[in-house]
């Protein structure tokens, strides 16, 4: 029997440890070495002047001096308690949802707790007097979490509470003639992040019913309704959002009776609803198309009518399937609300421009814009995290 020549293969010298990692991920071949060096050089060239500017030249005082303006615009300062009340209610709802739905709402609850803690620390560090409000919010969140855990029929209660929350906040912020403690605040005083969030929420939730109807219309067997839906969706999706806002702010008034003149914020909201409905219709249509034919047939076999099939069987499944898409459109609408700056509403971007016009802060473009970037970026990051946790908990796309 001939001896088989074997050679002993030694284990690779660098298999684990930080050095191995560096070698594998940064210096695995000659062009990787070149790319790594290029990246290091590039970050040095870009980051060093940026760091120097941020620590020496930049006048960050502009942010501290205008923080309230960034958050609520020119909302009357003596009415600021109403904004805090909305935040407290939100904290209560998040806590309640966390207690009721556990995992699904946990991501958002963690985000809220973390953000609240960060705000407390920041406020204490700079000596601002808002730390106690944030502390109260944290406490409310935790208390309502325990309430939520032991609430009978919790899911139903929490759903109702969420549905009531948005109209309630709108009432709180806008005020009314009929309640003495809530004097009306004209909408031209709303601004900053407050306005951005109001527009986002109204635009999204206002558009959803219309979007569902359009999606159903687009799949309808009646040609007139189908072509109407297709025409609406494609027309709106084919033109830029700003033209729709232009229409809402200027042309819409011409189409209304003479004594009906909604103010600019309401007109902008109508514009967003008109716009967003077309996009959400396409989202919902995606969900409808994902439903198996067998579902329709089974519902028919059980003797459900067409409407019953739609409302009880198809739509719940379809909407569940499009939760990620709806979250995405929430984020993109959040960014798109910046466009109302062009038609003259003082949301975050327009507030930034108006701060730059203050005589003592001339030339602080970079500081102000970077802060505005940070608001959008952090909010989107937090929202993405919360929604991803929710999707995981609900098993969307897995079942």
């Amino acid at each position: 029997m001939t001896a088989i020549e074997t050679s002993e293969v030694r284990p690779p010298v660098l298999a684990v440890g930080p050095l191995a990692w560096v070698r594998k991920n940064l210096f695995s071949s000659w062009y990787n070495v070149a790319l790594t060096l290029l990246a290091i050089w590039l970050s040095y060239v870009l980051l060093k002047p940026a760091y120097q500017w941020a620590t020496t030249e930049a006048r960050w005082g502009v942010i501290e001096a205008n923080l309230t303006l960034f958050m609520i615009g020119t909302y009357p300062r003596d009415q600021i308690g109403r904004v805090w009340l909305s935040i407290f209610l939100l904290a209560a709802l998040i806590g309640l949802s966390w207690g009721v739905w556990k995992n699904a709402a946990r991501g958002f609850a963690f985000i809220a707790l973390g953000a609240g803690a960060a705000f407390i620390l920041i406020a204490l560090y700079f000596g601002w007097d808002v730390w106690d409000e944030w502390l109260i919010s944290e406490a409310i969140l935790l208390i309502s979490y325990f309430i939520g855990r032991f609430l009978p029929r919790g899911a139903l209660m929490a759903t109702i509470a969420w549905l009531l929350y948005f109209p309630l906040v709108f009432l709180l912020i806008a005020g009314t003639r009929y309640i003495a403690t809530l004097p009306p605040v004209p909408s031209n005083l709303w601004g900053g992040l407050l306005l951005t969030l109001l527009l986002t929420v109204v635009g999204n939730f206002g558009a959803l019913p219309l979007g569902i109807l359009l999606a159903l219309g687009r799949r309808s067997k009646l040609p007139v309704i189908r072509y109407f839906s297709i025409g609406y969706i494609e027309l709106i999706r084919g033109v830029p959002l700003i033209t729709i806002l232009f229409m809402a702010s200027i042309v819409l008034a011409l189409f209304l009776p003479i004594d009906v003149r909604p103010d600019l914020v309401i007109r902008a909201m109508i514009g967003f609803i008109i716009f967003e409905a077309a996009y959400q219709a396409e989202n919902v249509r995606g969900g409808l198309q994902a439903i198996d034919r067998g579902q329709y047939e089974a519902a028919n076999a059980l003797g459900l009518s067409g409407t019953q099939t739609m409302v009880l069987i198809i739509l719940p499944q379809a909407l569940r399937a499009v939760i990620p898409a709806l979250f995405n459109s929430f984020i993109s609408l959040f960014k798109d609300t910046s466009l109302v700056a062009i038609i003259g509403l003082f949301e975050v971007v327009r507030i930034s421009r108006s701060i730059l016009a203050q005589s003592e802060w001339l030339g602080t473009h970079r500081e102000v814009f970077l802060f505005a970037f940070m608001i959008y970026w952090l909010f989107n990051l937090a929202f993405t995290y919360g929604s991803r946790r929710m999707e995981e908990a609900l098993g969307v796309g897995k079942r």
């Binding site: 790319l35 067997k221 027309l235 033109v239 700003i242 033209t243 232009f246 011409l254 700056a341 989107n380």
Partner: protein
């Protein structure tokens, strides 16, 4: 037939529903029409496109077709449309390059490079485009040094607060004679394609990828040959030079145009990067493994197996990003670039013709969208999987 069965006939009900729907639409339209006419009558206005023939009497910062303030509103709107088209077309070309590079970088095995690409995508996608445009314009380009202390990049390219000056080429007297060679070079491209395709069909193995270089080198050789046959070079460099308080020569990009183009390209590029990444990752792993076990090299695997399949997945979402770029160019108004929306806004301010302006605007954007998606759909059809 009695009435009872009539109401229960599904065919009749369907028609009835549609008739009712149309009636409701007509009623709504009539109601809106009445409101519009009362409102317009009260303001003493009438709907009509006659104003398009009146002199516009406002200046436009930059235009690619000739324009004077004494020209008509129609001409001014055309200037805006051309400005929109130019920035969109250039944007689509550059954003594709940026997006593909960033998408591939995101998948790079080099950790630093992939982190860089991820940071770019994450920062750009999560902040509003309008804010980015304002940042590039007000916080970067406007704050560049003055013309005297311009930053010089190789080229030479000069970065100044008054715009970006690029070196360009200038035609000389022999340019018209040389043009013949340019046309021949263009014609040579389909001929090369035909020759290569015929060769490929005869060969039993795939041709070496080096042959594709013929598309570049043969036309380049013809153009070069044409140039040296002339008594003097047909083109000479047109270099921007400082003379007095300003640069002369070269091509100037205005700060508005540069900021808008840069902003649109980086913004849309981040979205395309994600599409490219997802497209490449979506190609089934078995495809790569099968290709490797057939003995293809890793570059052949990428070029012949992965990329053609990824392209099919990528085309529809990339199309909608192209459309988004064209639509987003309307944010130019935030930084003062005279695009269609901005000029339409000025026209509305001067004439008060709101309904006419919004109709013109929507139809223009809609045609741009439809035309772009038509082109992309044709391309999409060509590369779709043909199942046999």
């Amino acid at each position: 037939m009695n009435i009872q069965s009539f109401w229960r006939d599904i065919r009749f009900l369907k028609i009835l529903a549609q008739v009712i729907f149309i009636l409701l639409l007509v009623l709504a339209a009539g109601y809106l029409y009445r409101n519009v006419s009362t409102n317009l009558a009260r303001q003493g206005l009438a709907v009509g496109y006659g104003f398009l023939k009146n002199p516009a009497s406002f200046g436009i910062g930059e235009s690619f077709i000739s324009y004077e303030p004494s020209d008509t509103y129609g001409r001014a709107l055309l200037v805006g449309l051309v400005n929109t088209l130019v920035v969109s077309a250039l944007g689509i070309v550059f954003t594709t390059i940026v997006g593909v590079l960033a998408g591939v970088a995101r998948l790079s095995s080099n950790w630093l490079i992939s982190r860089f690409a991820a940071a770019y995508v994450g920062l750009i996608r999560n902040t509003p485009l309008l804010l980015q445009l304002m940042f590039w314009y007000f916080a970067v380009i406007i704050q560049l040094p003055s013309v005297r202390d311009a930053i010089q990049l190789p080229g030479p390219i000069y970065l100044t607060q008054r715009g970006i000056y690029l070196t360009w080429a200038e035609a000389t007297s022999t340019f018209s004679a040389w043009r013949v060679f340019l046309i021949i070079a263009l014609i040579s491209i389909p001929i090369i394609w035909y020759i290569l395709r015929t060769a490929q069909r005869r060969a039993s193995v795939p041709l070496s990828p080096w042959w594709t270089l013929a598309y570049i080198f043969v036309p380049a050789f013809i153009i070069w040959l044409g140039a040296i046959l002339q008594p003097e070079p047909p083109l000479r460099p047109f270099v921007p030079e400082l003379s007095g308080l300003n640069f002369k020569g070269g091509v100037r990009l205005t700060p508005e145009f540069a900021a808008l183009l840069f902003g649109l390209v980086t913004y849309t590029g981040a979205f395309i990067a994600e599409i490219v990444r997802a497209g490449i990752q979506a190609v089934a792993k078995g495809q790569v493994e099968a290709a490797r076990s057939l003995g293809l090299t890793s570059s052949q695997t990428l070029r012949l197996v992965v990329f053609p399949q990824a392209l099919r997945i990528m085309i529809p979402p990339v199309t909608s990003q192209y459309l988004n770029l064209a639509k987003n160019s309307s944010l130019a108004i935030g930084i003062g670039y005279p695009d269609l929306f901005s000029i339409a806004g000025t026209t509305h301010n001067q004439t008060g013709a709101a309904i006419e302006i919004i109709t013109i605007m929507m139809l223009s954007y809609l045609s741009i969208s439809l035309f772009t998606s038509l082109l992309m759909n044709i391309y999409n059809k060509r590369i779709q999987l043909v199942e046999r």
